[in-house]
């Protein structure tokens, strides 16, 4: 199960005007031995509201560091904070690396990889690219990297260095939306048509074994359609979506919080396995989390309002269930709630898990 661990920030480097590369070191425990292309999920409170954001690891397996790239997004609380406030010595919380944006590495194989990256979508592609080039001496990597203009290209110098380091095995094609280049084909938007033109003139698509795509939605659709048209199957195409809007966790309805602004906490009594325990809990906390925090062995599994493992009955008081995909109407009428989705509304609640 995924837990948050403390990581010390050891370095923050600006790559371009609005993007930083953050180097991290685990403080005590957590398995941060990542696979190339994986991401870290961070959490941070802003004005009392927890925000979770995921950022891809940009380091290769042999770089010996844990690094993520964070590009500032307009209005993005976390990315702005990371770009403006985050500094070496600070401690930040993240879950262990996750994600399956990678293919198995085998030093004996000679594969041709084709990577597509849009803007900050370069981070997990870069991690894969560095690892492949270092660990598969017979493989080649072609990177098609789309950006608005020259000054928004993340890792531009690093890519040049990699080309020199792996002479003849790494090809980088920059596609720039607004800056003109020597070759017309390399200017404009990265879409299905651009792909087709690249496949006709620059990339031998028939020799490609695996393709990595990371960028915003329209780019992913256009490129994957072009790849499929050229005979690549689903298991040859690896995606990592950098959604333009990362949805956060489910929020409580604002209205209810305002109407009970008087008390921010609730006196809770929870019965489980025949025994009852009372404690004070925060109204911003789910009944399940409060129970777990108070050493009650409350049952739960998905924590998403789906599996109904955490079902309990409200005996006294009122809670607000923000999501319910598991309980039938009649169960709700009888007072059953999913404790992972339920926040106290009244100043006192009594809840029973044994019913």
């Amino acid at each position: 199960m995924a837990h948050f661990h403390d990581l010390t920030v050891t370095d923050v480097t600006k790559t371009i005007r609005d993007a930083v590369v953050v180097t991290l070191k685990p403080v005590n425990g957590g398995d941060f031995d990542f696979i190339q292309g994986q991401y870290l999920t961070f959490r941070q409170k802003f004005d009392g509201i927890e925000v979770r954001r995921s950022y891809s690891i940009c380091a290769g397996k042999d770089d010996g560091v844990l690094q993520v790239g964070i590009k500032k997004v307009e209005g993005g609380a976390f990315s702005t904070w990371a770009n403006e406030t985050l500094a070496p010595g600070m401690v930040i919380e993240a879950m262990e690396p996750m994600g399956s944006f990678h293919t198995p590495i085998d030093p004996r194989q000679a594969k041709n990889y084709l990577g597509f990256a849009g803007g900050s979508g370069i981070t997990p592609v870069l991690s894969n690219m560095k690892t492949v080039l270092a660990r598969e001496p017979r493989s080649t990597f072609t990177l098609v990297y789309a950006n608005r203009g020259v000054n928004t290209i993340m890792f531009r110098e690093e890519l040049e260095d990699l080309k020199n380091l792996h002479m003849g095995r790494l090809t980088v094609i920059h596609i720039l939306e607004s800056d003109a280049q020597d070759i017309d084909l390399f200017t404009g938007r990265m879409d299905a048509e651009k792909c087709k033109a690249l496949f006709t003139h620059w990339i031998d698509i028939d020799s490609v074994d695996t393709s990595f795509i990371c960028g915003p939605e329209p780019m992913m659709l256009g490129i994957s359609a072009a790849l499929r048209d050229h005979g690549l199957s689903d298991d040859q195409i690896k995606f990592e979506l950098f959604a333009s809007a990362q949805p956060g966790r489910l929020k409580r309805k604002a209205g209810s919080a305002a109407s009970t602004a008087a008390a921010k906490s609730t006196e809770a009594t929870i019965t489980m396995d025949g025994a009852s325990r009372s404690f004070t809990m925060d109204k911003d906390q789910t009944v399940l989390d409060a129970a777990l925090e108070n050493a009650l062995d409350a049952p739960f599994a998905c924590k998403a309002g789906v599996c109904s493992t955490c079902r309990c009955k409200v005996i006294e008081g009122e809670v607000e269930m923000v999501a319910n995909h598991a309980l039938e109407d009649y169960e709700v009428q009888q007072g059953y709630v999913l404790s992972c989705q339920s926040y106290p509304l009244t100043d006192r609640i009594v809840v029973d898990y044994d019913h």
Binding site: M1, A2, Y39, T41, R52, R53, S54, M98, G99, S100, F101, G118, G119, A146, R148, E177, R189, M190, G215, P216, E217, P218, M219, M220, L221, S224, A225, D234, D235, K238, F239, E240, L241, F242, A243, S244, A245, Q246, P247, L250, P299, F300, A301, C302, K303, A304, G305, V306, C307, S308, T309, A323, H325
Partner: protein, 251 residues
Amino acid sequence: MAQDMTIDSYLAQGGKLTNPTNVPPRYRAELLKIMATFVDSELAGAAGFADVINAGPGIKERIAAARIVLEKTDNADTVLNLMGEFGANTDRYANHHPWTDRLPRDTPPGTARNAHDMRLSVLNYPLDGWVDAVTMNLCMGLAVGVQLDEFLTSSYQPFAEAIRKITPVEARHTELAEEGLQKLIAQGGGPAAVAAVTYWRPRVAAVFGEGARDRFEQLKAWGLRRTPNATLGATWESRLDDALARLDLSA
């Protein structure tokens, strides 16, 4: 680059989601429901089959049964780990649950699920001896095959990838069942097999029960499903008929 595409329109055009953070809440709920159903069914199926390992008439049969138990548990683990990335407590999930619980054998076919887990309804019925277990494995294995085909194109890429690995393993279980049943029939187990087919067929069929149409359309728009249950059910019926014809068990 145009950055203003909504997730819904991206999915409607065949886009793939790749990790929990770019999954919208409602999609997440439906995806977790699909994954939980798969995991619970594999765990319940494995648990039920574990009980009949010793009923196998020979060493080879017991090895086959034990392998099925092992691999179904392994398949559950693969998908449970994906659920873990969404915050499911994977340690607790598998352990704190009576996976071998079943209804009385004579419970009529239906779609009611166990109140405490998301296993498919068919897995609430108990196995009754070796021939019954092998027959159930064949009937259900063919249904699982149809369902897995449906998930191969899931818009949640990590799930589709997991299913791609799981599909050939499950297909082998169904082959083992057919081979085993062939042997049992040759040894005079025909009448028991016919009785078992009669018992299991309607119960497996219920797996493809009519769901709410709106819900299916929504799942389809999100790329989590593509074929209506009625069509999947018909595919299963015809694959089962073919298998029964090969075994000379056609009624």
